[in-house]
């Protein structure tokens, strides 16, 4: 049967992959089973909890709701791609410092949602943060420290931008 599966090309965290999989296989399962990127988690399997959030062509998606065929040719970003050259992403640093991760199971999805939020809105106010993370459930933290983490990362990134701007001058 596997010989009639389509060949699907996807780019994950900048790396190209060719996958042979049933077309309706969930992107979540392709990431976890075919590409062994187990950072992306399943919480509910119906798009409610956001644990499986990844970015697909710059959009935040629940990878449990995306058939892999739909991801053909797409560029996917997962939690494994956040840290660069062994250094934690600003959001990861902030989550660590502010206590934004407890059990950690929602964390990869939460980080992707927060990344997506800051990509579109580098300095969100608290209402925008709440809205931006409303699709990602955390049962441990009560969200307070996740909000704080996002605020801290945004502030830090602002500082980094200013420094870069100053360097440029």
């Amino acid at each position: 049967m596997s010989e009639c599966w389509p060949t699907i090309r996807i780019t994950v965290n900048g790396q190209c992959h060719v996958v042979h999989a049933p077309p309706m296989k969930r992107l979540l399962d392709v990431l976890r089973e075919d590409l062994h990127l187990t950072g992306t988690k399943e919480g509910c399997g119906e798009g409610e909890c956001g644990s499986c959030s990844v970015r697909m062509n710059g959009e935040l998606v629940n990878s449990c709701l995306v058939p892999v065929l739909q991801a053909e040719g797409a560029s996917i970003e997962t939690v494994e791609g956040l840290a660069q050259n062994g250094e934690l992403h600003l959001l990861q640093q902030a989550f660590l410092k502010c206590g934004g991760a407890q059990c950690g199971i929602c964390t990869p999805g939460m980080l992707m949602a927060a990344t997506h939020l800051l990509a579109h809105n580098p300095h969100p106010d608290i209402a925008e943060i709440r809205e931006g993370l409303a699709g990602n459930l955390c049962r441990c933290t009560g969200f307070m420290r996740i909000f704080e983490s996002v605020i801290a990362a945004a502030a830090e990134s602002g500082t980094a931008e200013e420094e870069r701007a100053a360097d440029a001058r």
């Binding site: 950072g39 992306t40 989550f95 441990c140």
Partner: protein
Amino acid sequence: MSTSETTRIVGASVTRKEGVDKLLGRARYVDDIEREGMWHGATVRSSIPRGFIRSIGFDRRIDWSQFAVVSAADIPGDNHIQLIVSDQPCLADGMVNHREEAILLLAHPDKHKLRDAVESVHIEYEPLPAVFSIEESERQNPIVWGADNVFKTFLLEKGDVDSAWASAAHIVEGEYRTGAQEHLYIENNGVIAEYSAERGVTVWGSLQCPFYVHKSLLAIFDLPAEKVRVIQTETGGAFGGKEDYPSLLAAHATLLAMKSGHPVKMIYDRMEDLAATTKRHPSRVRHRTALDSEGKLLAMDIEIATDGGAYSTLSSTVLSRATLHSPGPYVCPNVRIRSRSWATNAVPYGAFRGFGAPQTIFAVERHMDEIAASLGIDPTELRRRNFLHDGDTTATEQVMREPVILDQLLDRALAESNYHAKRAQFAGENPAGAVKRGMGVAAFYHGSGFTGSGERYLNSLAGVDVTPKGEVRVLVSSTEFGQGTNTVLTQIAAEAIGLDYSDVIMAPADTGIVPNSGPTVASRTAMVVGQLIERAGRQLVGLLREHAGLDEHFTRAEFFAASERYRAAKGEVVSLCRYEPPPGIFWDDQKYRGEAYPAFAWSVQVAQVAVDTVTCSAEVEEFWSVQEAGRVINPVLAAGQIEGGIAQGIGYALYEKVLLQNGQMINNQMTNYIMPTAEDVPPIHVHFVEIPFQHGGYGAKGVGELPHDGPAPAILNAIRDATGVSFHSIPLLPEDLFAALAARQAIEEPATV
């Protein structure tokens, strides 16, 4: 012990021990693990609440030779989960007592083949009458468990309640109810099991209590202790929901591994996890209270009933904690508490953060506001007049030997929330607006550690060692599932030994490696196990000084050099300590009297709530929590515990309804079991007042369960303040508000025809 000394690491917000792994997505949860040749398992479950199994048929469309199929007949040992009373079968044998009870297990190399196979097993039943509520169980017809449907009864008596009614200035009665609540950890239950005749059983799983699983596997597989190894994997939330259930699931996966000859992974999906695993016990609590003309409590007569579900599991100990928390943090000379846990044909209820206390604290703290209203006293003033103080005795006649600072906590909570000014402001604004605002308070304690003689029976052992690789390890079976065990215990070890936080790691939570430091439950880890680690750390330094020439002041290098000298002389570098009860602790199990808990954590919470009388939604706008839980080991983690517990408590009060139909949860999806989201949780303000507890790890008491106890009564008290309507049951959903507000409107504005 060490409560007054300055500390370097204890009290600092060092970052979470396993935090970087979690943030990079490389922490290994059970579903992230593969074993060579691994198969997948699934469960065939009962589709009726109670009855005899008459036949099991296998659809011929399926090639069953490709599957491993397990029934109760395959169990080599005792077909029962080993808990307090071992009444719950591992697999149903001839009879089922609740929906979703496991009857048959299937395994196959391809997990996608399992769903169809489960649906292709046809079970015929002879149904028996079933009971689905406390009231139906109380009728004792039919009897569905034991001789009388009663799992456990407690009677607690102090003074003479019956003599108090005649002289009372006021008598106030009330009945309060709480619904089931689902833990909704984001990682569902899951395990991997391997079986070999020579090596025995190895289980990896998402679980709280490795030695609970170990104990059940020994009995079910009739194996000696050394042939069973249970390893906790990174665990994505638990909240009590992975206290007893993993024993069942681990046994199932191991049976399939034994039958198939392959490692077997069983991971529940969300619908199965919600339908088949434990929830918080539903409760009904009745209060009859006598007061004098000043509002001082004269007598409390409390009757508690919980729905325990189909098997006894943890219902007796949940009921015990419910009983001991039911009178609230108040002084009362005459108290009688009669409590019962009833069997029904629901999925067994189990442990959930608070363990019975949130149910009875909801009742007493709602009841205090009803009393205040009935007497015309401010609810905070009524509480103040009755608070426990140092030297007072509780309902079990436990003398409060440690400082009790409820007045201070209340003052702080009222000041931080600007309670009185806001109440006055809202009272002025509410009549004119469709949105009514109110303020509500709850005051409560939570007993830290096991109840009564529990810690003595547990007899926990914990310690530290130094590996030849130069790592200092904390040796405990206490597990991390988000609450901070790894961080707090390594902080304590580093502090006690005199090393840096980065020098200390956790040994794997593997029953083949670590001693039994007891289950990770009951707000006991920082206090009880933390103290064992503190002692073990100091003991290790003592051993190295005595036997390996370590100086009083030492560098890191000198410490590890001394460790190697000690290893050369003695073999291994290990320091273990066993639990010793604090002196003067006495508990009488028969009379249910004495020191119910070694220590109590105390809290006052305030909720500000807005009720929209048009949409009938109630929204918590702001929340304050002031608590004294001993020494705070890690401020960021401790505040995170409080905030998370409050969010769950808000869900318990206003969002989370387990819809049961004939003992079946019919809203077993995240789509329709609703928990608070990032848009629902209000700003939460957390303030600790620290009084180190002499017998806790660096002065710690328990903090994990405390915050879940107060939000429900505080919120419903605020709704009463806002609307003037008293609600006696949770969850309180918009439809409940609609019914009550519409009924009141009908009285106030009778329709003119």
